[in-house]
Symmetry: C2
Subunit: 332 residues, 2 copies
DNA sequence: GACGCGTCTACAAGGGTTTGCATTAATAAC
DNA sequence: GTTATTAATGCAAACCCTTGTAGACGCGTC
């Protein structure tokens, strides 16, 4: 059995409260005593029992991280970044996944409520009302979602979408499709708004196809429709869909970028390993997760601290976009 | 503040022990009382405080999952599978990552010791002695590693490597390279042993290049050496290296599979999105993680239950392997 | 009417910590 | 030499729950 604070106290010949203070408030204990305690603790392999500490302080030194899909290359780096940031602060990360199901999401938040110090909700699918409601039970930081004055970390996808549109328009494209993501995705709505705005007042014809599953298969399944639609460029909700789309277009003998240009979103690692390398809008996912962890820890008890951070996105031009095919030039 | 067992007891007009038993041993509580308690608990939104329960029962209902790299497409599906399996059992998953550093690994296990009910160590890099030692402090299930009689889940990479070799030999290849993984990787050693055994007694010349970082860049960095070595086929430690290698060969104008065949290991999702689609040995990572969770939960207190499970691997033939180039036929 | 038995509920200890307060000892101020 | 003042430590309650044991109650049996 692992050593407890009692064992250490006994072996050192002091009261347990002195041992406790040696760790939680070192300045209150005499240096000599402190050293003796530390030495004994070291020798006995003593570690404070977090459950006991949590019981009394109400702090668990654990953060809950809720994502739609743990293995998704969009979320995985967020978990990674959050874990590393949390560990720096002596915190742990409890992960759970919702499968894009708002009900599961809610249940998870509630289940976490008494068990973690705060919850990081990544691209949540719950309704605003529900998020608002559960935020009374436990400190929450949102990523990729804005709900009233709850703390959140956003990525500036609007500006990313605008850059992407400008890039395509600059290449001469006039018939462009936007393949949206899930209905309840805040990001998807933002991209749509921004892309639509970028097309407005120009001679660009923007076709919005939405909602779609944000997966490789989702993109794959749209290839035929895209190929038959006469568009010369496509902006997808994320890189996975772009990869699937390119795959599907390939098997229809539609060449990317010669026939159709494709722009993704996120800049997941795979974007540079597919052929053609994917032009995409880089999202600062890791940095968002780190920021969210810090916000959660600073939040303390005033759980409505109104920090709302927006991080920059950046268009990464690779090989999946090119000039509009000559046959299509000017016929939009 | 969230409702406690006291609030529920008071509101129902029974003793807290009755409330407790309503949840932990319902058959000991009169049905009518039980229903009243449940109703009040529901109304008050009561959830047992896990910390308090952990303090007394010693069970945290949490499993620690330690991997080298959370975002790695080899490990991410394992985390995913473990989380889903754990949730089915009303358990949670605490993740942490080691960056392939044995010291971090050890520290993490120790930090988890009193905080989780068991630890799942995925492809650990610690020494056998150390694993053996920490296994006294906390129940451990190993994945991809065998240490004395500790419970573990293995993937039959040896048979996978043999299949891969046979596949290549069947295609006429006689000069084959094996790009190994990290030095401390059990998997890497197993593959090497098996591949060497498959080559023995034949006219196949197997060149082992090891150790290497098990990453895309690791593979990329070996491209030149491979291209200049005269081998016609390569077996890599994992798919990431294979992807990197193919990338590197591509920029050296070496064509896969026409000039050189490549076989990966793991069958990560990306394997089917790269071009050419990667021939690889599929590892049952998800199933391994699920099995490990179940083993951990069944382990109970006899932490040396000697279950050692081996899961089957399977060679998936795609487009990165082909017949030996005619110029090379028979000159091995 | 005393007793035993089974069913249910109440009581209270205990798990490992933190922390406000009391106590002690040592030092400083007068 | 007495009294404040400070520093260091001890004491004990509290955190929320589980669980072994004892008690209350109703019923049937002799």
């Amino acid at each position: 059995m692992r050593a407890t604070i009692n064992d250490v106290a006994q072996a050192t010949g002091v009261h347990i409260s002195t041992v406790s203070r040696t760790f939680s408030a070192p300045h209150l204990v005499n240096e000599e005593t402190r050293n003796r305690v530390l030495e004994v603790a070291e020798r006995l392999g003593y570690r404070p029992n977090r459950a006991a500490r949590a019981l009394i302080t109400g702090k668990t030194y654990t953060i809950g991280l809720i994502v739609a899909d743990i293995a998704n290359p969009f979320f995985a780096p967020m978990i990674k970044a959050a874990e590393s940031q949390a560990r720096m602060r002596d915190y742990h990360i409890l992960v759970a996944e919702t499968d894009e199901d708002p009900a599961v999401e809610e249940e998870l938040v509630r289940a976490f409520a008494k068990q973690v110090d705060g919850v990081q909700l990544c691209s949540p699918r719950m309704s605003n009302e529900l998020i608002e409601k559960v935020s009374h039970d436990i400190p929450i930081v949102l990523i990729n979602r804005m709900v009233s004055d709850l703390p959140c970390v956003l990525m500036d996808v609007a500006s990313g979408a605008r850059s992407a549109m400008e890039h395509l328009i600059g290449l001469g494209h006039r018939k462009i499709a936007l393949l949206g993501g899930p209905r309840s995705s805040w990001t998807s709505r933002e991209i749509r708004k921004s892309a639509t705005a970028a097309a407005r007042g120009t001679d660009v014809e923007l076709t919005v196809v939405s909602p779609n599953p944000p997966t490789v298969d989702g993109g794959l399944g749209l290839a035929e429709q895209v190929a038959g639609s006469g568009v010369t460029a496509v902006l997808t909700h994320n890189d996975l869909m772009a990869v699937g789309l390119m795959e599907g277009l390939g098997s229809l003998d539609v060449c990317v970028p010669d026939d159709i240009s494709v722009v993704g979103f996120d800049d997941i690692e795979m974007a540079q390993w597919v052929r053609p390398k994917l032009t995409t809008v880089a999202n600062p996912t890791s940095s968002a997760a780190r920021t969210a962890v810090d916000m959660l820890l600073q939040l303390g008890d005033d759980r409505r601290a109104t920090a709302q951070v927006t991080l920059r996105t950046e268009l990464i031009v690779r090989d999946s976009t090119g000039p509009v095919p000559s046959g299509s030039r000017g016929d939009g």
